[in-house]
């Protein structure tokens, strides 16, 4: 009996191997994403990955003729996971910043939207050092928004860092923090337009300062993997040109998220 199982397993493995070599022209690429950042990437009620990033990733893989597979990873372990080769590319709304470039390479951007604060509607908080003094601000850990807060308002505010954006939003809704700072589109679609976001509104300007917010969201890959980077860059240009990008864009947003 055992021997029979063993033989069947060997046979199955052999078939898989042959099948594998047959499709070897399609390069296998594992893509890391977070799955907790609506509307860019999230897991729907059926447990499937959805969102702008996911659709873009699928379109890019089709354009670059890559065989892609998604790996879900918590945000604060995103870059360490890439470096540990748990996946080969990060398509998860990761902004292209100098700090991250020291560890990973990026493709060109595939979208770019400003960061904004959200607070209780009519709270009248001025976004200056004086205006924010003593306030508690929620932010997602290991994001450009956390860095921006640490560097610009670190001495005057209390920063509370959460594992996911949803948890940061939940504590704003519960009144445990005064403000949230995040990407304006993620806040708008993922919070303000939901039931939990009723009675909250944007405040202050949109932030795009390159030093913290970089050059928009790109795809992170390990340093030196130029072939993959070039393939993805080509794919971004292709889907921009052939209208695929526009279709995906209009599925989620009423405006162009690619930015200037």
């Amino acid at each position: 009996m055992l021997r029979k199982i063993f033989a069947t397993t060997i046979a199955a493995l052999a078939i898989a191997l042959i099948a594998g070599t047959a499709s070897a022209e399609m390069k296998k690429v594992r893509i890391g994403t977070e799955g907790a950042y609506p509307p860019f990437n999230y897991i729907d009620s059926d447990g499937k990955l959805q969102g702008f990033d996911v659709d873009i990733a699928n379109a890019l893989c089709a354009a670059a003729k890559l065989d892609c597979e998604f790996v879900v990873q918590d945000w604060d372990g995103m870059i360490p996971g890439l470096l540990a080769k748990k996946y080969d590319a990060i398509i998860a709304s990761m902004s292209i910043t100098e700090e991250r470039k020291q560890k990973v390479d990026f493709t060109a951007k595939y979208y770019s939207t400003p960061a904004k604060f959200v607070t209780k509607a009519g709270a009248n908080i001025e976004i200056t050092k004086a205006g924010l003094k003593g306030k508690t601000v929620a932010v997602q850990r290991a994001t450009i928004h956390e860095n921006f807060l640490q560097d610009n308002f670190g001495e005057v505010i209390e920063i509370r860092s959460y594992a996911t954006q949803d948890e940061a939003n939940a504590d704003l809704a519960a009144g445990r923090v005064d403000l949230v700072l995040a990407d304006s589109v993620a806040l708008d679609e993922g919070f303000l337009k939901t039931d939990a976001g009723k009675g909250f509104a944007f405040t202050g300007p949109g932030f795009t300062d390159r030093k913290w917010f970089g050059d928009g969201a790109g795809i992170a890959i390990r340093k030196g993997e130029d072939e993959l980077r070039k393939a993805l860059n080509g794919a971004i240009e292709q889907i921009r040109a052939d209208g695929t990008y526009k279709n995906i864009n209009s599925k989620y947003f009423e405006f162009d998220v690619y930015g200037g």
Binding site: D76, G77, P80, R141, A142, S161, A170, A173, R176
Partner: protein
């Protein structure tokens, strides 16, 4: 190496919070555990069953679930809590962490004490009764002191577990040792170095806990050691 060196002051700040919430929860949990253990042993089902249910729930669910329920759950019932004047407590992550840890450790500790109380040799209880001790006196002088000694090894385990469990409070944005390590990793992308440094600090703290328990155990077991030999001393004096 430089990264760890530069991070040490912040890691120590985190370790202080870890020690603080561990100490507060251990103290509160211990206070609650003794009466809970006695209720758990009561013959009256109205006293015994609620305590049994409480212990079963806190031993039967993961701490991370308990913490999420208390922290994000209380956020859902903000209006009710506000009208009861309790929101000022539940608003604070620190309070929610202490509450969850205390309820958790009290459940485990009560169960440890229950076992210890039941483990007190019946002969000793019988002897106390024969001396005419009342029930209260019996518990105060015989059963509880003996049970405390019996419970100590298992209880030291529980305190060590609780120390490790506190690392979970970083998910509600508290900057304990694990939380601080995560914040530093967020910008340095060096999880191995930082978590290794945090692990060493946890080891040192655990050693501290074990050392204290060793001392307490030694102090409580005086009657089991040999008496110092009086005759030798007498010779020296002479």
């Amino acid at each position: 190496m430089e990264l760890i060196w530069n991070s040490l002051p912040r890691l120590f700040d985190g370790a202080l919070l870890t020690i603080e919430i561990t100490a507060v929860s251990v103290a509160l949990g211990l206070l609650a555990a003794v009466p809970l253990a006695l209720l758990r042993l009561s013959h009256n089902p109205f006293l015994r069953l609620p305590v049994y249910a409480y212990i079963f729930y806190f031993r039967g669910t993961p701490f991370i679930v308990q913490l999420f329920l208390i922290y994000y759950g209380s956020g859902q019932f903000r209006d009710t809590l506000e009208s009861a004047g309790l929101w000022i407590f539940f608003r604070e992550a620190y309070f929610c962490a202490i509450l969850a840890l205390t309820l958790n450790t009290a459940a485990y500790t009560a169960e440890i004490f229950r076992g210890a109380i039941q483990g007190v040799p019946f002969g000793e209880i019988e002897a106390a009764r024969a001396c005419g001790m009342s029930r209260g006196l019996l518990y105060r002088r015989i059963i509880l002191p003996k049970a405390l000694r019996l419970a100590l090894p298992a209880y030291s385990n529980e305190v060590v577990f609780l120390l490790q469990t506190t690392s979970i409070v970083s998910i509600i944005a508290l900057l304990d040792l694990t939380g601080v390590a995560r914040v530093i990793i967020a910008r340095s992308f060096e999880p191995y170095k930082l978590f290794l440094a945090a692990a060493v600090i946890y080891l040192v703290m655990t050693y501290g806990v074990l050392y204290v328990f060793k001392k307490v155990e030694f102090w409580l077991s005086g009657h089991l050691r040999e008496r110092p030999d009086d005759s030798v001393k007498a010779v020296v004096v002479r």
